[in-house]
């Protein structure tokens, strides 16, 4: 749908170039903003957020329960003084966590089950898992 709007905008702008270049640029800009804005709003509407803290090379909470079939936003704050890497083969995710910085990772939609993650630089202590349950059992 947004593509159609964009194509229409392009066609409209093409016509108007002949008459006025300024008007076409304004029109194109409006439709681009409209398309970007609508996709951003739809993405924001579907997010479920979870906060995780990394402190003393441990994840708090080490277990998070999320509902199946939903895209989830994990906000991980590294409170340690050294860099860590959030790593998960099950979730297919890998992200640097810089000291005193918040990092964002999106996971899912996932089917029911357990998905393990760990800190690559401290794999013996920094461990956690995402438990995906059917229904609305998220913590």
């Amino acid at each position: 749908m947004s593509n159609m709007i964009f194509i229409k905008a392009c066609l409209l702008s093409k016509l108007s170039i002949k008459t006025s270049t300024k008007t076409s640029i304004k029109l194109l800009r409006f439709f681009i903003l409209l398309t970007l804005g609508s996709s951003t709003l739809s993405a924001l509407g579907n997010d479920t957020e979870f906060n995780i803290i990394l402190q003393d090379h441990l994840f708090y909470p080490a277990e998070i329960i999320i509902p199946a079939g939903v895209k989830v936003k994990l906000i991980i704050e590294n409170k340690d003084s050294v860099v860590e890497e959030f790593d998960s083969f099950d979730l297919n995710r890998e992200k640097m966590l810089f000291p005193d910085k918040k990092s964002t990772i999106y996971i899912g939609p996932l089917s029911a089950g357990e998905y393990h993650f760990f800190g690559e630089y401290h794999p013996n202590s920094a461990l956690g898992k995402v438990i995906v349950k059917e229904g609305k059992h998220a913590n």
Binding site: A43, F89, R93, E94, F98, K101, T104, Y121
Partner: protein
């Protein structure tokens, strides 16, 4: 790098190229290490992924275009050499930054000096052994005129590295990779040794998404057809030159 060394591009490892290349990688890595924390906060936390994706795209494009000119006329020599050097430099910067951050993180652990040294020696040993085996396998392929097989392996390697952008951009919700097509972790797990080797050599994923596969196949077709076109172009150019000489 072993791929480049094994084929007809060992000239980039000459001292006049390797010293500036090494220096550029070192300087680039130092800059990257310092700006990565700042980049990570841009674009609502997607800055790191976007930056690495752009760098990977740039590196892989340079390597593909650079290596496709290997058979062409002398006029293109400077161009492909520059592109190859640029590609290797960016690629080296990304990898060495990753390694340096890992090393810095490990050094901060108390009492890890001995295990770090031991780990480094073993890791370097494994890397060198693997590189030597790969080098001899690839030179054997080229000496037996299995150039097409070499080109396929080289294409798979570049595409595998390039497709790393899919999970990177998916984790910051810029693309969707939720639809898993198959699960081959029963045979080769991502976390296993074979999984790591296959991932590095051809971008193996035990649970690839449809986005990843589409991205992979489009990239491999583009990459391989580019090599085939350049080979066809070079053979036409050679025929024209020999025809002119004959007449």
């Amino acid at each position: 790098m072993v791929f480049l060394l094994a084929h007809s591009w060992p000239s980039i490892y000459r001292l006049r190229y390797s010293i500036p290349l090494g220096l550029s990688i070192t300087i680039g890595s130092v800059i990257l290490i310092n700006i990565l924390p700042l980049l990570s906060e841009l674009f609502d936390g997607a800055g790191l992924e976007v930056s690495i994706a752009i760098l990977l795209l740039l590196a892989c494009s340079c390597l593909i275009i650079g290596s496709s000119y290997e058979l062409n006329a002398k006029a293109h020599k400077t161009l492909w050499r520059t592109l190859l050097l640029f590609g290797v430099c960016i690629f080296g910067c990304i990898k060495s930054t990753n390694f340096a951050i890992y090393l810095i993180g490990y050094i901060h652990q108390n009492g890890s000096g001995y295990s770090l040294l031991l780990g480094l020696i073993i890791a370097i040993g494994i890397c060198i052994s693997f590189a030597v085996l790969l080098y001899f396998s690839l030179t054997w392929l080229t000496s037996r005129h299995y150039n097409k097989l070499f080109t396929i392996l080289w294409s798979l390697f570049i595409v595998g590295q390039f497709c790393f952008v899919v999970p990177l951009l998916a984790q910051v919700d810029l693309i969707n990779d939720a639809n898993i097509v198959w699960d081959s972790s029963i045979w080769v797990k991502d976390s296993s040794e074979y999984g790591h080797i296959l991932n590095a050599m051809m971008g193996y994923e035990a649970t690839p998404s449809s986005t990843y596969l589409i991205f992979y196949f489009i990239s491999i077709v583009c990459c391989y057809s580019n090599f085939l076109l350049s080979q066809a172009f070079s053979s036409t150019a050679k025929n024209n030159i020999s025809g002119e000489e004959f007449s």
